[in-house]
């Protein structure tokens, strides 16, 4: 697959983080819990300054009208929201004092996925 087509033109710098372009909240949450703080900080630092450009590009789009590359880009945004709690609030992947810390994250079922 041609890497250039995975994100819309102009966002090639974010290709490095395509493994965060996950379509469901369960997948994004699992990715967060399986990542180190260094990995998340890198993604966060790369993504946060691009939010303005991403929203200029697709913020006004209807969800069903998005092309696959735009969908990938948007899923990176949703992953930014996911990692922001680890990076900005907790300083660790898991919610402190939660069942995630007991290794029981899967008991907390995300029904809407």
């Amino acid at each position: 697959m041609n890497e250039q087509t995975l994100l819309p033109p102009g966002f090639e710098d974010l290709n490095l983080y395509l493994d965060w372009a996950l379509a469901t909240e369960s997948a994004r949450s699992r990715k967060r819990l399986g990542s180190s703080m260094e990995e998340m900080q890198k993604f966060y630092d790369a993504m946060l300054p691009r939010v303005d450009d991403v929203m200029e590009h697709l913020g006004a789009s209807a969800l069903e009208a998005m092309q696959p590359a735009q969908q990938n880009l948007f899923n990176l945004c949703l992953s930014l929201s996911e990692v922001s709690f680890a990076v900005e609030v907790y300083g660790q992947p898991e919610v402190p004092n939660s069942m995630q810390e007991l290794g029981e994250a899967e008991r907390f079922v995300i029904v809407h996925d």
């Binding site: 945004c77 922001s84 919610v95 069942m99 995630q100």
Partner: protein, 407 residues
Amino acid sequence: MIIDTTIGKRGLTDHYPELGTGPVSTEPFYSEAHYELEKQRLFRRTWLSIGRVEQVAEPGDYFVFDLAVADTSILVVRGEDNQIRGFHNMCSHRGNKLVWEEKGRSMAFPCRLHGWTYLTDGSLRSAPDENMFYDLDKTRCGLTPVNLEVHEGFIFINLQPEPDETLSEYLGEVGRRMHGFPFGKATVRYAYRAELRCNWKVSLDAFCEGYHVMFLHKKWGRDTFTTPGNPLCQFPYAGISGRHAVAAVTGNPDYKPRPAEAKIYEWATKLQQNNENNGSWLPPGVNPHDSPEFSFELMHLFPNYLVHLVEGTYFTHQFWPLSPDRTLWEGCTYYEPADNAAERFRQEHLHLLRRESWLEDTRAMESVQAMLKSGAKDEFIFHDHEMLLRHTYKTVMDYVKDNAVTS
């Protein structure tokens, strides 16, 4: 029904002398015998919310709700005549659970075991090899109906043969308080669910007080929900009406969003559409003094449902007993469908905020339950603003003792 409080000044509970102010027994929170009484005398008598009309929008739409606390499964279906009905999900022939799917659309429900087939009004359409039965009167072989009524789009059932009271009588003043909130606009649902290792009342109580916010949610709750004038998240107003109760929770109008959410909120606001329809969702009685510190009003619809009215959205918690120390909890947030990506981004962040706090709450519920059975403490001590917990306790005990309970 609303009592305005003075933050830091005790006295809310004094408005309801029937609640008392003493400690309450922990025994009903783990006892097998008490649980059996709740099953028989409470959950089989009260109206129970089991869904929304949007789940059965079209004729033939159905969903199945397994109700362990009443040892049954309920089939809710919108009939060809557009009426929503509820039935015990059980075939009349040999008792098989009729519908196994969680939801779907169908005009007929054939039993997997011998093919007896029912229509959306519960009537038996056909039984294979019918002439081999003795005196089979198909008109008497429909599904067993359960009482079903709808209030503000919420579907309730009642398992009494003849309910003591209508749903509207049951919900009383708190039910009327919901009127005017546009529940029907918020059709997109984000739901979390967990089978919790705790009693259903431990779980319910955890969401009915703000006292824990500064401590359990100290990483972020203090910025979001507390203000200099209300550092321990006391209720600015609360009230009890019959078996149900409400309480307002403070928000911090000076909250400074963190970097990521600041961007999210900025873009959602910038690209907001339908500006002409953005009037307040809150009925006039909710946040009656238009306080800028209002975050949401919590409504406890006894026994096991919490509905929270927020500007532009609502969220709910529900607690289904599975055993004395197991509860099926579900927390849901409801939005209007996002008309663009920026709004969808904002909605994602808002329910993740709730998810993070619910992850903290649920573990704490289990850690309470883990200690209860020790018997080392046989009483709970309630704060003035833990009044809703006291009220739930009293209402549960009234049912269990079979005292007359009315709105």
